[in-house]
C-alpha cells in the first residue's frame, strides 16, 4: 500500500474547508448554509483524524467524535430555529431576515 505524505491529506481537508466556507458566503438558503457549516466542521474532523494517524494517538479520533456530537447538537437547534423562521417569514432566504441594521 502506498503511503501518502500527511500534507496531501491536509490539503484535501483545506479544500473541503474552503468549499464549506465559500458555501456559507454565497448560499442564500439557510438550510444550505447550515450544510456548508457541516462541511467546514467535517473538514476539521478530517484534519484531526489525519493528525491522530500521524502521531499514532487516539486523540484525533476522539476529537472527531466530539465534533460529530457537537454538529448534531448544532443542527438540531438550527433546524428548530429554521422551522420557526419559515413559520414566521414564509421563506428560507437569509436576505429576508435583515430587519436589524445600522
Amino acid at each position: 500500500m502506498r503511503q501518502y505524505p500527511i500534507d496531501y491529506g491536509l490539503v484535501l481537508s483545506a479544500v473541503l474547508f474552503a468549499i464549506g466556507m465559500a458555501g456559507v458566503f454565497v448560499r442564500r438558503n439557510v438550510i444550505f448554509v447550515l450544510l456548508c457549516i457541516e462541511i467546514m466542521l467535517n473538514a476539521a474532523g478530517l484534519a484531526f483524524v489525519l493528525g491522530g494517524a500521524r502521531w499514532g494517538q487516539a486523540d484525533g479520533q476522539v476529537m472527531f467524535i466530539f465534533i460529530l456530537a457537537m454538529a448534531a447538537a448544532e443542527v438540531s437547534v438550527g433546524l428548530a430555529l429554521i422551522m420557526r423562521m419559515f413559520h414566521r417569514f414564509k421563506s428560507l432566504d437569509t436576505n429576508e431576515i435583515a430587519r436589524m441594521k445600522g
Binding site: 481537508s13 466556507m21 439557510v30 500521524r54 502521531w55
Partner: protein, 476 residues
C-alpha cells in the same frame, strides 16, 4: 479521579448538576418560582464551593482542566454574573406568556460551558467549553421566538457562531497535525523560536474564532443585531459572561505560550484593538437604540481590554482582570436596567424610552447613570480605575500609539454615553409616556448590589487590586 480533584472541580460539577436537576424539575412540574429558586440556590452553592476548591488549588484535573487561582477567580466571576443575570431575568420572564422554565436550564448550561473555558488547559476542553456555551446561547438568544427580531438574532448567531467554531476547529486540527499534542503546556514546551507555516495558519484561524466570540473588529458585525434581538438579560450574559470566559482563555493562552515574543501576533492584536476601539465608538455615536449603542460600546471596551493584554508584565494580568470585573459590573448594570424596564412584549430600547427616567424612576435612573459614567470612565466609578490601570500598564510597556487611540476613542464615546444621560434627566413628555413595568424585588436587589459595587470599586479599589496582585504567580 481523586477526592481532591473532585473538590477542585466542585463549582463546575454543581453548575452542571443543577442544569440536570432543573431539567428534571421542569419535566415533573412547571413552576417558574420553583425553577428560579433552584437556579439561584445552586448558583449560590456553586459560588460557595469555590471556597472549598481554593483549599486544594492548584490542581490539574486530568490534562483538560486546570483549577488554579486564575481559573477559580474567573469561575467566581462567571457564577456571580450568571446569578445577577438570573435575578434580572425573573421579572422579565414573568411578564411574558411564553414558556419560561427552560430558560434556566440553558442559562446554567451556558455558565457551565463558560467555567470550562476559564479552566481549559487543552484544546479539547477549549472546544467542549466553547460549544456547550455556544449551543446554549443559540437557544437563549432566540428565546423571544415569537417575535421576528428574536428569530433573526437567533439565526444570525447560530450561523455565524457555527462558522466561527469551524474556524477554531480547523485551526486546532492544523496545530495538532503539526505539533502532535492538544495541551497548551506541551505546546509551550515544544515551541522553538518559530512555528512552521501550518501551525501559524492554525493559530490565525483560532484567532478568528476567538475574535468572533469577543466581537472585535473585523468580526463584530453580528454584535448589534444579536444584542438587539436577544432578550435584555441574555444580552447582558452575552456581553459579559461569554466574552469574559473567552478572554480568560485568551489570557491564559497568551501567557502560557508567551506570545509576546512574536511580533506578528502582537501586531495583529494591536491592530484588532485599535480598530475595535475606533470602530466601536464611532458606530455608537449616532445610535438611537440603546441596546445597539451598548453593543458598540462593548466592542470598544474589548479593544481597551486588548490594550491591557498587550501590555506585558505583571501589571497586565491584574489590570486586565480588574478592567474585566469593572466591565462585568458596569454592563450587567446597564443591560440590567434595560431588562428591568422592558415589559411584556416590549423592550425598552429606544433612547426616547429613557427620557425623563430620573423623574419617574429615580433609583433606576441612578443605577443606569452610574453604569454609563463608569462606561465613560468618570472618576469614583469602577470604570475609571480600570481605565487608569490600563493606561498605566500601557504606558509602562510604551504602547503609545494604542494609548492615543484609546484616549481618542474614549473622548468620542463621551458623546453617546452622555447623550443617554441627558435623556434620562430631561423633563418627561407630558403626553405619551412609555409604560414601565412595576418594580421587581429580585431585579432591584441585583441592580442595587451592582451599583454599590460599581461605586465601591471606584472609591476603594485597594482590596481587589491586592487580591489580583498575586494572580500571575498563581497561573499554572
Amino acid at each position: 479521579m481523586s477526592s481532591e480533584q473532585i473538590l477542585a472541580l466542585l463549582p463546575i460539577l454543581v453548575t452542571s448538576a443543577a442544569s440536570v436537576v432543573v431539567m428534571l424539575l421542569v419535566a415533573l412540574k412547571r413552576s417558574h418560582g420553583l425553577v428560579f429558586g433552584v437556579t439561584v440556590g445552586s448558583l449560590l452553592v456553586a459560588l460557595a464551593a469555590i471556597g472549598s476548591s481554593v483549599s486544594v488549588m492548584p490542581q490539574a484535573v486530568s490534562s483538560l482542566l486546570i483549577m488554579d487561582r486564575f481559573a477559580l477567580l474567573y469561575i467566581g466571576l462567571i457564577l456571580a454574573a450568571t446569578l445577577a443575570v438570573a435575578l434580572l431575568s425573573y421579572a422579565y420572564l414573568e411578564s411574558r406568556a411564553e414558556r419560561r422554565e427552560e430558560y434556566y436550564i440553558l442559562l446554567l448550561l451556558a455558565a457551565a460551558g463558560s467555567e470550562v473555558l476559564a479552566a481549559a488547559g487543552s484544546y479539547v476542553s477549549f472546544f467542549l467549553g466553547l460549544e456547550i456555551l455556544s449551543i446554549s446561547l443559540y437557544g437563549l438568544v432566540a428565546y423571544r421566538r415569537q417575535t421576528p427580531l428574536g428569530i433573526e438574532a437567533g439565526v444570525k448567531y447560530l450561523i455565524l457562531a457555527g462558522a466561527s467554531s469551524g474556524f477554531i476547529l480547523f485551526g486546532m486540527a492544523l496545530i495538532y497535525a503539526e505539533q502532535g499534542s492538544l495541551q497548551f503546556a506541551a505546546l509551550a514546551a515544544a515551541k522553538g523560536s518559530s512555528f512552521d507555516v501550518v501551525s501559524l495558519v492554525g493559530f490565525a484561524l483560532i484567532v478568528v474564532g476567538v475574535g468572533f466570540k469577543l466581537a472585535v473588529v473585523p468580526f463584530h458585525l453580528w454584535t448589534p443585531d444579536v444584542y438587539q434581538g436577544a432578550p435584555a438579560p441574555v444580552t447582558a450574559f452575552v456581553a459579559t459572561v461569554s466574552k469574559g470566559a473567552m478572554f480568560a482563555l485568551l489570557l491564559r493562552y497568551f501567557i502560557q505560550l508567551d506570545l509576546y515574543q512574536y511580533g506578528a501576533v502582537v501586531l495583529v492584536f494591536g491592530i484588532i484593538a485599535a480598530l475595535s476601539i475606533l470602530a466601536g465608538n464611532i458606530l455608537g455615536l449616532l445610535q438611537n437604540n440603546v441596546k445597539r449603542m451598548l453593543a458598540y460600546s462593548s466592542i470598544a471596551h474589548v479593544g481597551y481590554l486588548l490594550v491591557a493584554l498587550l501590555a506585558s508584565g505583571p501589571l497586565a494580568v491584574s489590570s486586565v482582570t480588574f478592567y474585566l470585573i469593572a466591565y462585568f459590573i458596569t454592563n450587567l448594570g446597564a443591560f440590567g436596567v434595560v431588562g428591568y424596564l422592558s415589559s411584556g412584549e416590549r423592550e425598552a430600547e429606544e433612547i426616547d424610552d429613557y427620557r425623563g427616567l430620573a423623574w419617574r424612576r429615580p433609583w433606576v435612573a441612578g443605577a443606569l447613570t452610574a453604569s454609563l459614567l463608569s462606561l465613560a470612565g468618570i472618576p469614583l466609578t469602577a470604570g475609571f480605575i480600570g481605565k487608569f490601570f490600563i493606561i498605566a500598564a500601557g504606558a509602562g510597556s510604551r504602547l503609545w500609539a494604542l494609548l492615543i487611540i484609546l484616549v481618542v476613542g474614549s473622548v468620542v464615546s463621551f458623546f453617546y454615553y452622555f447623550r443617554l444621560v441627558l435623556a434620562i434627566f430631561r423633563e418627561p413628555d407630558a403626553g405619551a409616556q412609555v409604560p414601565y413595568p412595576s418594580a421587581s424585588l429580585a431585579g432591584g436587589i441585583a441592580l442595587s448590589v451592582l451599583t454599590l459595587l460599581l461605586v465601591w470599586l471606584g472609591v476603594y479599589p485597594a482590596p481587589l487590586v491586592n487580591l489580583l496582585g498575586g494572580m500571575t504567580s498563581g497561573l499554572l
